[in-house]
Every structure is written in C-alpha cells, then in structure tokens.
C-alpha cells in the first residue's frame, strides 16, 4: 500500500489529526481563529490560490486532496510577516513548508510547481559536494525549460555573469567538479540516517 493510501486508511475522515501527527508544526493548525491577518500580511498574497488561513480551514473541513495538491504553500518565502502578526502565534511558514514537504512525500505535490522543482535541484546540487555549486545551480535554472530558452536566459544575464566572474563570486572551474566539504561521505551518511528516521516515523504513523 502506498504511503498516501496508508495515511488515508489511518486517518479516514480526520485530516486535521493527520496534519497534526505528520506535518512539521502541524499541531498548531487547530488553533487558527480564522482572522485572516496572515492572508492580508503575505507579500505574495496575490499569487496564492488559498491563503494560509483558508488552507487551515480546508484542513479542518477535510479537504485533503485539495490541500495537498495545492501549490499555495509552495509560495511561502518565510518572510515572517504572518508569524509576528498572528494573534494566536501560529508558526505559519513552518506549517506551510511542512505541508509542502508532506505533500511531496505522499506524491501529491503539484508536479510542475517551480518551487518544488527548484527545491529538488537545490537539494540534489547541495548533496553532491555538501555545498551548493552556484554555477551549476544557475545553469540548471536557465535550462529548466529547454536548451533554446536556456541560451536566451543566459544571454540576458550575461553582464551579471561577467561581473560575478570579475568579482570572483563565481568560479568557472566549478563547472567540472567544484569544492566538496571535508567529509562528504560523513554528510551523506548523516542525511541517509535522517531520512531513514523520518521515513520510519511516517511509516509508523501510517499504521
């Protein structure tokens, strides 16, 4: 049984409890009083389909599919405007990221979401050497939508690139290998272990 099905089976009608049990800081969702100050405070508000407060209401109304497949929580830039104003002190960005992460694990996250795509590229990039290879990260962003548009994007940012080279903010040789951190294997081991622990927790939660 897929993890998603297992969770569905386990929590049946109670998405609020599922969120409380599996999403980072998800336990806070129940405390929302639906004032909407988070929605109004979000600088990216216009870009969201559902505001945080509305997502919290949807969670309580058992709109599981709708919530987990939403791209709204992927919009959060952690500016913390909402947190400082929330009258109930909900750690809203954490919950947003937690929900996004949970959706991804269940395989319900929106496939073509650019934030999700970027997060994956970033993560994979970082994992290789233990630090971000900015050149490769930049290039993969340029070429996200194919070769032609990649060239176009790169040309558009030509001046910036040259300036960064001059200022030694970008190392062209990173194209080939790049610096790794001292104990890259140690890091990989740590991450594997963390992933195991998390997976086991989710697995256990789904029973």
């Amino acid at each position: 049984m897929s993890l998603n099905n297992a969770m569905l089976e386990k929590y049946r009608n109670n998405f609020l409890q599922e969120v409380a049990g599996n999403v980072e800081q998800g336990d806070w969702v129940k405390m929302c009083m639906q004032c909407g100050v988070c929605a109004g405070s979000c600088p990216l508000g216009d870009a969201w389909e559902h505001s945080p407060q509305k997502i919290f209401m949807m969670i309580r109304a058992n709109r599981r599919e709708q919530v987990l497949s939403s791209d709204s929580m992927w919009m959060c830039t952690s500016c913390y405007h909402c947190v400082v104003r929330c009258p109930r002190g909900l750690p809203i960005p954490h919950i947003m990221h937690g929900l996004a992460s949970y959706a991804k694990r269940l395989g319900l996250a929106p496939k073509s979401n650019p934030t999700l795509w970027f997060a994956e590229v970033f993560w994979n990039n970082m994992l290789k050497k233990g630090r971000v290879n900015e050149l490769k990260l930049g290039l993969s962003l340029y070429f996200k939508d194919g070769f032609a548009s990649g060239i176009k994007q790169a040309m558009a940012h030509q001046k910036l690139g040259i300036n960064m080279l001059k200022a030694k903010r970008m190392a062209p040789m990173d194209m080939f290998a790049g610096h790794a951190i001292k104990d890259i294997f140690g890091l990989h081991k740590m991450i594997r272990k963390a992933q195991e622990i998390e997976a086991a927790k989710l697995e256990a939660n789904s029973k």
Binding site: M31, M57, R88
Partner: protein
C-alpha cells in the same frame, strides 16, 4: 404634615461676582419685603466656614428653620449648604443669573430684575414647603422573599443570610437546584478556563438547607403579594393545597427561564429524530453517561461524531424565533464538545457558529481550550438537519464560501433562553391576541409569578422580549416596582457566573430597600427623600389618573375608588401630582403651591414695558444641569427667562401653565428628558406624560385666544448645553414676533 412655625432666613452671598453684578442690598429688601424673610443676611463668601457658621448659628438658636440661600446653583456647594432639620431653598444667582448675562451697563437692569425675581421665587418656595418627616407608616422588616430556588435564588438567599437577614425561599419544584441541577458540568469561571467544572450544586443546596436564616417553601408558589417595601404580606401556596402567610421587607424574583422549543424551527427536525437533541437534552445524556462515553438515544451506540448547530431560532426576526440571543450558547457548545473530547479524543466534534460569542477573559481562553482539544470550529450557518441513522447537517460554510454538508451520529441544537417572567402588566394586547387564537411571537408563560395585588397588574413590567431587565444602563436593578428586584436570567440572558453576581447585587438592593423602607426614605433616584405623597381626600373626584399614571404602581384604589398611596413604593417623582386635575396630591417639600407660588411671585412688568416673561420648567436632573453648565461656559440667554427646576416633567400640573398664562407670562417652555422606546426619563413615563398633557393645553390657549407657540415642550438632554439656552432665546424671538401676552395686569 409637620406642625411648626416657619421662620424664614434668607442668606445672600456677594461672592463670585454676585456683589459686583447685582445690587445685593436691594435683594435684601426684596427678600424682606416680598419674600417675607424674618432674617436677611449677606456674606461675602457664604459657602466658607464662616458663612455656613453664620447660618448654622441662626438655625441652632431657633431663629430660622427655613433657609433661603441666594448664591450659586442648587447643584453647587451642596455639602456646604446641607443643614439637618431645616428646609432649604436656593436662589440661583450665579449660574442662573449673572453668569448667563453680559457684564454691561445695558444689561444691568434686566439682570437685577432677574436676581430679585429669583429671591422672590426662592422665598415663595420656602413659604410653601415643609420640612419633610417620615409619616410613621414605615416598618422595618429584615426578611426577604426570594422567588425561585435555582442557582440565582439560592445565591440571593445565601448572600442575604450571610449579611444577617432572614429569607423566605419559595421554589415551585419539589427540590432546589433549578436548571443547574440538570447540568452535567459548568463552564469554568476561574483560571484556568480549560475544562468543564463540577457544578457543586449539592454543596449549595446543603448550605441553603443548613442556614438558620433561610426558611424553605418547596413545591410552592406565591399566591398573593400585598403591601409595599417594609410591609409585604405574601401568601405562599403549596401544591398540596396548604398555604402560609409570611411578612417580608423586600422581594427578589429569580424565576429563571425556560428553554426555547426547537420545533419552532422545523428545518432542525428535532421531533423527527431522537439523535437531534437540544443543548439541555445533551446535559441529561452526559449526566447519564457519568464519565463514560456518551451514547446516542436512538440505539445506545457510543457517539463518535457530533455536530453542534449554533443559534437555532435565535437573533432572528423570523416568526416563532427569538429576536435576541442567549449569549452563552457558544460557551455551552464548547463545554459540551469537551464532554466528548475529554472522554474520547478521537470523537469528531464540530461547532457550526456564525459569530463566536465567547467574550471576556474566560471566554477567549475557553475557546482556545476547545481548539486545543481539536474541536472543529466552522463559521457555518445550518439550513437543515436530515434525520437518519447518520444525521446530515446542511450548511453554508462562510469561510470556504460554499454550501456543503457533514454527517454525524448526534446533532446538538443550541436553543435559547425564554424568560419565565409572568405576564407584562402593560402588554395586555398580547394576551388578547392569544385569546383570539393568534400565535404570539413566542410563548411566554402567562402564569403570574408574584400575583401582586397592585392596581397596575400582577407582575414586574417587561423591558423587552419578555425580560424584566432595567431600562437604565447605569442602574441595572431598576424594575419599576419598588422593593422588588429581578435577578438572573429572568431579567436578561446570562450564564451561571453572571447570575450569581447578579443575585448578590439584587440581594444588596433588596436589603437596601427594606432598610430604607424602615426609615421612610425614598429609593433611587431621589435616594433618602423623606417626603411622601399627601392626599386631601375631600377634594378627590376618583378620576383614577394618579393610580393609572404612577410609573411605579405605587397607588392602589380602595373599595370606593379613592387612591390608596403606598409611600414606600413611591419614588417621589410627583407624576401623580402632575396628573391630578383637582390638585389634591402634594409633598411636604414639593407641591402645586411650592411651584405655583414661585410662578406667581415673579414680578410681572406691564404690557408696555417690553419686558416679556418666559417661564422655564426644567427637569432637575438633565435640563437644569445643562443650563447650569451653559452658564459655567459663559453662554448667555434671555434675561426674561425665569427657570424653575422640577423633579420630573411628569410632575408638572397643567394648572401651573394656565395660571402662568393668566398672570401674564408671554411664553412657557417645558424641558424634559427624551421619551419613547429609548426614553431617558428617570421616572419612566414622566416626560411622555408631560407631552400628552401639554397637547391638551392647546385648547386652553385657544380659549384664551393665545398663540400656540407660547407654550412649547422640548426633550432636552444633559449634554444640550448649547441648545438649551438657544431654545430660551428662540422663545424670546417668538414673543418679539407675535407680541406680548394680552393678559398683563
């Protein structure tokens, strides 16, 4: 009426500019010659210790017993000019004269005339009043009657008993406790506001039972209430046909409420499923379950999901619904949701609310506690509940902006409180409608609670929607029946905690009422007034106006139809005095003569003097202070006005108006408080009554061939500091236009 020789002493102050602006020695002469004051003295600073001492010496020496103070307003320096065993009259030379006139040579003469008139008026008043003394009718009875043995009634009884008073407690049921005894638990009212708390009702009942000062009457009701504060006679009848009579000094009515019938909202289908219950019915289920799982009535299955539908038939103008809100339904729903959650955290509980009404510190914390237990709060308005083995609630989710539905094992309807207040003495049409078969707006019990043997009906008047609340924000215990106080949800929807506070406050008022009745002192707002209505039976025509119009139902009728005054029910407003066409009602310190003679003692210039006279009768609580404050702020008005404060515009007898017109006044202004639904009249109906009576003055004016504009009535608030003088000036202008009264001598 006290029997003594009146010795008038007039004391004039020349301070505060009075001596600069007015010829005080001329006023001394006026007081002596026109005012007939035996002693006349002037002091440059009358309210000073030396000035007051000068007056006190004359009183102590027996030379003076009626004091006329010619200084500042009746409202100023009250403490300085308070003398026991002396009648006090005030001539308002400062706020009422020099402060409202310009300090110019041209104004000098008219200002002086005003000052002299004020002295004449105060002396006239002094000659026609008496020092009030208790009638001797008063009785001190330190026992209270408490009607209702619920939490409110029991609290009233216990708190009164604790203060050393005796209580007769009457409860309709066979046991104490009321609705409280039917509750599983209560809303917390102490920190932490987290969980439902035990009712502890048994301890309260035990305390009532154990208290030596409390006598219980169970399965009993009040069959008859006669008398007045200090000397109520109560017949208590039991279900078994026995009856006892007790005598009490004051009464607290704590008759509580009934639950609204959810069948008035057919879409809730309360009658169609045993699993659609009211909040009160849920208490019984919770109580039966003890601390175990709550089972549903239809099949005894443990409830695993429950929906609370809030505001059923409340705050709604629809027929058969309650136009108000109980205010505590959301707190009850949270409490009840926690019955389920504390027992089974997995139970799905949803509260469909519109505005979540959980006010105060306790409310907000309790709301958080509900959320903490994962109670789901949805801003949703339910339209229908469908019965079935799984109940379905259809509603509009206001946040998600859609019509939707949800299913549950049990649905709890938040129904409101309907006051158990007895029939409203002034709402007879409702009874008539019922007899005609028309459905009343909602069912109010028509069984009397108090069975008052009062001329004006058997029970406390309702304020709104059947509740017997006070009309006054500042005075929440005013009931329009002296010495009878309502407490708890019969007067306003409230929770237990508030009801217990209310009960304690009502006990205080009842104790105060019986103590003051024992001394012959009036209750609020003329607290402490020792006068009482005096009645000259010989002149009475038995027209019944006084008995009908008394806002406090203080006056009954004897078997021959003569008014029967009950002085401790009386608030000394004088509305009966204003009502009496033959002028047989008066008070020692306020009478048709005490005002009428002030009107007559104003010096009336002749027609060719071009000095009109405008009589202003101003409510002493609002219009008069407004004029005082105008003076304080240097706002001027016509020197032709002669202002007399009255207790209430309702005390104005039309004879004052006709006499004034006949003696040559050119205009008359009545200033009272606002009337209507949101009336501000402290004596309820006084202002309205005055309007009614003045509308009849039009005929008199016609007979006298006088213009209708010469007599006007205004609603004037205490804040009308600019407007009140404007109204006077407008009358002066009117007179200029229409000319002087032809009735000058």
């Amino acid at each position: 009426m006290p029997d003594y020789d009146k010795k008038l002493g007039a004391y004039l102050c020349s301070g505060c500019g009075i001596g600069d602006r007015l010829n005080v020695s001329q006023m001394e002469t006026t007081a002596k010659r026109d005012g007939k004051a035996a002693i006349v003295k002037t002091h440059e600073f009358l309210c000073s210790k030396a000035g007051v001492e000068m007056i006190r010496k004359d009183i102590d020496a027996g030379d003076v017993n009626h004091v006329i103070i010619g200084a500042c307003s009746h409202r100023s320096k009250v403490e300085a000019f308070r003398f026991d065993r002396a009648a006090i009259s005030r001539a308002n030379l400062r706020e009422g004269c020099i402060w409202i006139r310009p300090y110019t040579d041209e104004a000098q003469q008219t200002t002086q005339e005003m000052g002299d008139d004020l002295i004449r008026m105060a002396c006239a008043e002094s000659r026609y009043i008496n020092i009030p003394e208790p009638s001797g009718e008063q009785e001190l009875n330190k026992t209270l009657l408490v009607v209702g043995g619920g939490m409110t009634g029991m609290t009233t009884a216990l708190e009164s008993a604790k203060a050393g008073y005796r209580v007769e407690l009457v409860e309709k049921a066979a046991a104490l406790g009321g609705w409280m005894a039917q509750l599983h638990k209560c809303i917390p009212h102490r920190m932490p506001y987290a969980n439902p708390v035990a009712t502890n009702i048994d301890a309260t009942i035990a305390a009532v039972n154990a208290h030596a000062n409390i006598t219980l009457h169970l399965s009993a009701s009040v069959a008859k209430t006669e008398g007045a504060p200090g000397r109520f006679k109560i017949e208590i009848a039991t279900e078994y046909g026995t009856s006892t009579t007790v005598e009490v000094g004051a009464i607290v009515q704590a008759s509580g409420y009934n639950m609204f019938d959810p069948n008035n909202v057919p879409a809730m289908n309360h009658a169609k499923s045993a699993d659609i219950v009211t909040n009160m019915e849920l208490e019984a289920l919770a109580k039966a379950a003890g601390d175990g799982p709550i089972k549903r009535p239809s099949d005894g299955r443990e409830v695993s999901s429950v929906i609370f539908v809030q505001n059923v038939g409340q705050a709604s103008e629809a027929k058969g619904h309650l136009p108000y809100h109980s205010g505590i339904g959301d707190l009850i729903a949270i409490k009840q949701a926690l019955y389920f959650k504390t027992q089974n955290r997995g139970c799905e509980t949803t509260i469909l609310f519109n505005h979540l009404r959980t006010p105060g510190a306790a409310g907000e914390d309790f709301y958080c506690s509900g959320q903490n237990y994962e109670v789901t709060f949805r801003k949703g308005i339910a339209s229908e509940v469908f019965p079935g083995s799984s109940l379905e609630v259809q509603f509009r989710d206001m946040i998600l902006d859609e019509d939707t539905s949800q299913t549950a094992d049990l649905v709890v309807l938040d129904v409101g409180m309907v006051p158990n207040s007895g029939p409203d003495p002034y709402a007879l049409p409702l009874v008539a409608d019922k007899e005609k078969g028309a459905a009343p707006v909602f069912e109010v019990t028509l069984d009397s609670i108090l069975n008052l043997e009062y001329r004006q009906g058997t029970d406390l008047p309702h304020l709104k929607h059947g509740f017997t609340d006070s009309h006054f924000i500042c005075f929440p215990y005013e009931t329009r029946r002296s010495g009878i106080y309502a407490a708890g949800p019969v007067r306003r929807p409230m929770d237990i905690h508030q009801a217990m506070e209310d009960a304690t406050g009502a006990a205080m008022k009842a104790i105060q009422a019986l103590e003051n009745a024992g001394k012959g002192r009036s209750a609020h707002p003329r607290s402490g007034d020792l006068s009482y209505p005096l009645f000259r039976k010989e002149g009475c025509t038995r027209c019944k106006r006084c008995t009908v119009e008394c806002p406090f139902a203080a006056i009954d009728e004897d078997e021959k139809g003569y008014p029967q005054f009950n002085e401790s029910r009386c608030r000394r407003c004088g509305i009966c005095m204003g009502a009496c066409p033959v002028r047989v009602i008066s008070f020692d310190n306020y009478s048709v003569d005490s005002i009428g003679q002030q009107i007559k003692n104003v010096d009336m210039p002749d027609e060719f003097d071009e000095k009109p006279r405008i009589l202003v009768l101003a409510c002493e609580n609002d219009a008069y202070p407004a004029l005082d404050m105008a003076a304080q702020n240097g706002i001027e008005y016509s020197p032709f006005a002669r202002v007399i404060p009255v207790r209430c515009l309702g005390s104005v007898n039309t004879v004052w108006i006709t006499d004034a017109l006949n003696s040559g006044y050119d205009g008359i202004i009545l200033m009272g408080c606002s009337k209507g639904d949101d009336y501000q009249c402290h004596f309820v109906k006084g202002s309205e009554m005055a309007y009614q009576r003045m509308s009849q003055i039009a005929d008199t004016l016609q007979i006298l061939s006088l213009d209708a504009e010469r007599v006007v009535t205004y609603e004037v608030a205490i804040t009308d500091i600019h407007r009140a003088p404007r109204l006077i000036n407008a009358m002066a202008e009117t007179i200029e236009k229409i000319g002087m009264s032809p009735f000058k001598f």
